[in-house]
């Protein structure tokens, strides 16, 4: 294979030749320059890495970052808003630590779409593309892994413990390294594939590797001319250096963090995962996904949030923002936080404590770091947080903006294996005011 035509009969090579006229690359140079003039492209302020915090289950927007204290009681909920260190930005009282660093992120309200099932919502919000049965879109991390080079002895994309979206049509090459487990406070963290174990020592690994080198000679005569064989060789070396280098192991070793730094985070798994994410980014990993589930609060919404989810989110996320800032990484790291949808404004009575159900028409997102203008609210929901008050923000726009913070042109097209040109985000526009 290797040679593919696009759906419109133009080969990649042709596309380059075609240039401005009839260009198939979407964003032509002249378009780009126009956008640059309009301030939509800011090449200076781009992030070098990103962290995506996915909140599968769908967190209630009304009880977290979009409170409606004046709404009728069947909507309002039990929690009260508190002021934050960003003027005019108010969030839930059970997020006090985040309230103290609200200048570091922007709250997006009135984000809206129409897919109310978990898998579909996740496919949409965690890829920036409306699901399509004949095409599997890549998650954010896989796109970044493809677009941004990482060093040899580090994975480009790590998921803690795993990400909901795979590499989709980009292929296994851009899949994440899954830790499969979350780091626990005070205990050594072992990462599948990276940590040496099962009685294999570094010396043993070196010995085996030298044996492998001597035995793996069969294809020497042809390997340089064969993509598969030379690829296997290249990856074999990279894997070995990743396994044996101190850098990769250190990147996952939380006990190497200074106690003062570790204090910024809580002791629960999510906080520890956030600390690991900051450490990985510091080491040179390009993209980290951290997953915190449990938000599907059909019943006992308020007690689950108050007792468990919000304290965790508050500790981990505030730790992450403050930690990145302390390491001087916040300016070069975008942090994006989102679930797949919001929850029904009206409280159901299935449980004594009340619950909320799936609600894609209105949700929140957070974005901070890199070129994102923190300390503000963008977008607005209506009086009962039942929908966007004005024109809503859609997931595509958020995705487009997110990619833009990394200097990735979201209109860039990839050819799928059927030769169909697919842009990274099909319909998005950068959200005005959020970055720059």
């Amino acid at each position: 294979m290797g040679f593919h035509r696009q759906c419109d009969g133009v080969t990649r090579r042709d596309a380059i030749k075609v240039g401005v006229l009839g260009s198939t690359t979407g964003l032509t140079m002249s378009n780009f320059l126009k956008m640059a003039d309009a301030g939509q492209v800011n090449s200076k302020a781009t992030s070098k890495a990103a962290i995506f915090i996915e909140l599968p289950g769908g967190p209630s927007h009304m009880d977290t970052f979009d409170l409606k204290p004046n709404a009728p009681s069947e909507f309002r909920g039990k929690f009260n808003p508190i002021k934050t260190n960003a003027p005019g930005v108010e969030i839930c009282e059970h997020l006090p630590k985040l309230a103290k660093c609200a200048d570091k992120f922007a709250v997006l309200r009135g984000v809206s779409h129409s897919l109310g099932a978990h898998p579909l919502g996740q496919q949409f919000v965690f890829t920036g593309n409306r699901p399509n049965p004949s095409l599997d879109y890549p998650g954010y991390g896989s796109v970044v892994a493809k677009e941004m080079q990482s060093d040899d002895d580090l994975p480009a994309y790590v998921a803690i413990p795993k990400a909901k979206q795979g590499p989709g049509h980009l292929g296994v090459k851009y899949a994440s390294l899954q830790t499969n487990a979350t780091p626990r406070f005070g205990s050594p963290f072992s990462v599948r594939g990276i940590t040496l174990g099962n009685g294999v020592t570094m010396d043993e690994m070196q010995r085996r590797s030298s044996l492998l080198k001597d035995l793996d000679r069969t294809f020497d005569t042809i390997k340089d001319r064969d993509d598969l064989l030379s690829g296997l060789d290249k990856f074999s070396q990279k894997a070995f250096s990743m396994i044996t280098s101190n850098r990769a192991r250190d990147a996952f070793n939380l006990s190497k963090e200074a106690p003062n730094y570790a204090k910024l985070f809580g002791e629960d798994d999510f906080s520890q995962s956030c600390m690991l994410a900051s450490r990985l980014v510091e080491s040179g990993v390009k993209f980290v996904t951290v997953s915190l589930g449990g938000w599907d609060t059909h019943s006992d919404n308020f007690s689950k949030l108050q007792n468990n989810l919000l304290p965790k989110l508050d500790a981990g996320l505030s730790g992450l923002f403050n930690g990145l800032a302390a390491k001087g990484l916040l300016d070069s790291t975008t942090v994006f936080v989102s679930g797949e949808f919001g929850r029904t404004p009206k409280i159901n009575s299935r449980s004594a404590d009340g619950g909320r159900d799936h609600y894609p028409r209105c949700m929140f997102m957070l974005m901070g770091g890199g070129p994102v203008n923190g300390g503000q609210v963008i977008g607005e929901s209506d009086a009962t947080a039942a929908g966007p008050k004005h024109e809503g923000i859609n997931p595509e726009d958020a995705a487009a903006t997110f990619f833009r913070t990394l200097g990735i042109n979201h209109r860039k097209e990839y050819d799928t294996s059927i030769g169909r040109p697919i842009s990274i985000v099909r319909d998005g526009n950068v959200i005005p005011g959020l970055i720059g």
């Binding site: 419109d8 006229l21 599948r192 294996s417």
Partner: protein
Amino acid sequence: MQQNRKRHLLKMILPATIISCCCAVAIITIDRANGAAAESVSAATSTSNENYSKPIHSKPIESVDIRFKESGNDELPDFQKHVAPLLGRLGCNGRACHGSFQGQGGFQLSLFGYDFQSDHKALREEGTERVNLKNPAESLILTKPTDEDEHEGGLRYDKDSWQYNLLQSWIAGGGTNPDSIHKLDRLVIEPSELIFNSPSEKFELKAIAHWKDGTVEDVTPLCRFHSNNDSIAKITESGIVSTNSLSGDTHVVVSYDKAVVPVPAIHPYAGQPLKSNSAFLGTSKIDLLTAKKWEKLNLQPSQLSDDTTFLRRVCIDITGTLPTADEIRQFVASEDSQKRKKKIDELLNSPAYASWWTTFFCDMTENNSRQLSNIAFDSNLPSQQWYDWIHKRVKDNTPYDEMIEGIVLGISRDSGESYIDFCERMQETSANESFSETETMPYYWMRREFRDRETMAISFAHAFLGLRIQCAQCHKHPFDRWSQKDFKDFSKFFSGINVRQYSGGTSPEDKQDYISILKNLNIEPDRKKNPNLQRQLREAYRKGETTPFGFLSIDSPKLTREELRELQKQLKAEKNSKKKKKNKKPTIAEATLLGSDTIDLTEHEDVRTPVMEWMKQSDNPFFAKALVNRVWARYFGVGIVDPVDDLNLANPPSNAALLDHLSQEFINHDFDLKWLHREITNSQTYQLSWVPNSTNENDRRNFSRAIPRRLPAEVIFDSIAFAASNPEANRSFRNSVQGRAISIPGTVTNVKRTKNSTDASFALKVFGRSERASSCDCDRSEETSLIQTVYMQNDRDIHLMLTQKDSWLNQMAQQNTANNQAVTAQQSLDSLNDRIAKMELKKASFKQSENKKQLQNLSKQIKTLAKTKRSWEAKLATAQKLKGDLNVQQVVEEAYLRTLSRFPTEEELARCKQHILEDEDLVKGVTGVLWALVNTKEFIVNH
């Protein structure tokens, strides 16, 4: 009009070498039903001397660039024949221009054309000056492309060019579009094959359109041209083909109207012309056909592979399982001239063959567990039954068409079967695993994603016809004949297919049955009153009670909501205009087979039947080919058409004669799958070595050597397990497929071979087992990645598999310990015996001196020693039982046979021995060797 022909039938531009084989003509014929272009005639692609088709002699009308060279021609150009293709050729309807779904400057043409009505409408749209009948020269389609008016697309043609004159004449003539579509009979391209005998040669293509109405016209300047690989053959906008430095073969493709015609372009490999492939002894039809192509390309095939290479390859390909050490030894030693043939037969009869190729068909039909929830209360049941049903047929070698018929015409409930009877039967098939005995398998149609008929049409065409028609859902297929109408008309076959979830059917009887099933279980059926309904039913199912099941229902074809709305609008309009009200039923009466007949659906109770009948016809252009090509690709790593699921006109086979032959013979052999496997694997072409020679090292599409390819995900996981397994498990690997990765039914993959063994799900994900999710063969990945090599080198799966409890190495460690223990025990026994013997002597001397006390002491001591001796004897016995011959050389040989399926060379043996002996622990050393071997490229590659 000046008859000044500037073109010749065959015009060589630079050095005028005469090419004997260029007289044949590539033809495309257009079918009867809707003017779609059928298969390109392949005779033209064969060697010139044997297949000389005569040039078409009816004299064509000369081309538009000559007719409209001067302005003032009073000929009226035709919208479909001239204007629309000209706009296409100029690039107006391209994706970035007016073909964009948003249009450009408010002007939208159909992407890639062929929607003449809407294009005409767009050009003539009121209030625009695109076409100005009063003042033609003011028309935007003349002023913009000549850059007289500002045009983002820039200059497309000059004023007073033939293009200008043509469009101007059309506008002046009224800018009309005929009511009906002209049907193109065929598009003939001359020359029909391009062979570059020198790198500086050039060819100029000529395209002659033959219309159904008898008109024949040179349409060369109206065609679009592209090359499938422009590093081998470059083609200009006007159809002039030249070659690049790279040798090889490809096609240049000519498109006009609905026709898409590929023309082979061959740039032979350098070197002495090969008289014949003397070293190649293949005599099968496959071999003759591949050799014919090699000759054209001046390709010398590689040598025949040696026995061990062949055995490994054929075992992997047929059974997804490596050969055992004994099997390799026997095979190599055998002097039977028929041993390869016999081995192939043996493999085709093994359980692993049935499992592995069932996986192939489950990939093809997309047996995806996630898509099948909500059918039964065991969400894995449908996937398992789907697998089992195919497995039985692969094992029994049921003809392919019959098997597919059972899927395509799958039904849940037998005719007249009540819902309750159906549920009872399903419960029974689930309990006694007898589903495979049912005649048909309905789950293909029951996937959740099949929400609309378009999705079904796309999936169906992909799975059974090897076609990607999804492009035509929104616009004309850029590389094939399919228009949006073709897509729509085909998808209508799938408009009556519905899935009823377990809560019963729509009929009152079904509902009653559903209630009574629940009543029998003492379960409250009202969801509002019973929030635990699902859980209770699941529990009842587990207990083996009769619970409700979802089922497939084939109803009469229904209109979609949009279509209904459209129809109502139409009816309303008719009512308003007081026309006589026609009796329009809101059903679909007709559907059209791809490139074939239109079928009256009212005549069929099950509207899927005509599709199946069409596929089974011996002249169906896709059904057999799609399968044959896919199977071929499994054996060669590349299809005769590649990508394998893209049998479009612009993606022609690399060896059309070969694909035609195999498909036809497959049909002639009643779709006998094992025949196909045998035919391919017994060919010398399949059995060639991967070691290239100077002529074929760059050949990747003509099968002149084996191309190393990464093992499929399941085979990798199983092969590691195989390499690590204890000798007993190792020997039976091919015959006991229970819990192996090659026999996982759906997409839930956390399956274990034994209770202690590692589960396959992580490895299968990392190595890209088919996701069965997007109607694309690319759902299976055979790419490489960093995570894969990290897995092979250091994943806990690998470390565990190599050394776990019932592994070969663990057994070896036990043996090693036993060996050491046996030695110690023997030594202790020897010394004990010695001591006892000495004491006995002493005892004898005491006896004589009648020293009673000492005698007693001694006897006591001897007794104690005897007791110790017995315990050592027991230890020795145990050790001897576990003891094994651990000869380092033999162990290394065994490790090689288990992984690379060959014997080590002297050098390799020495290096491995060195590694083992450096370690104080023999088993640790061997572990290192086995680890290194599974990490070689040779292990992970099928070669």
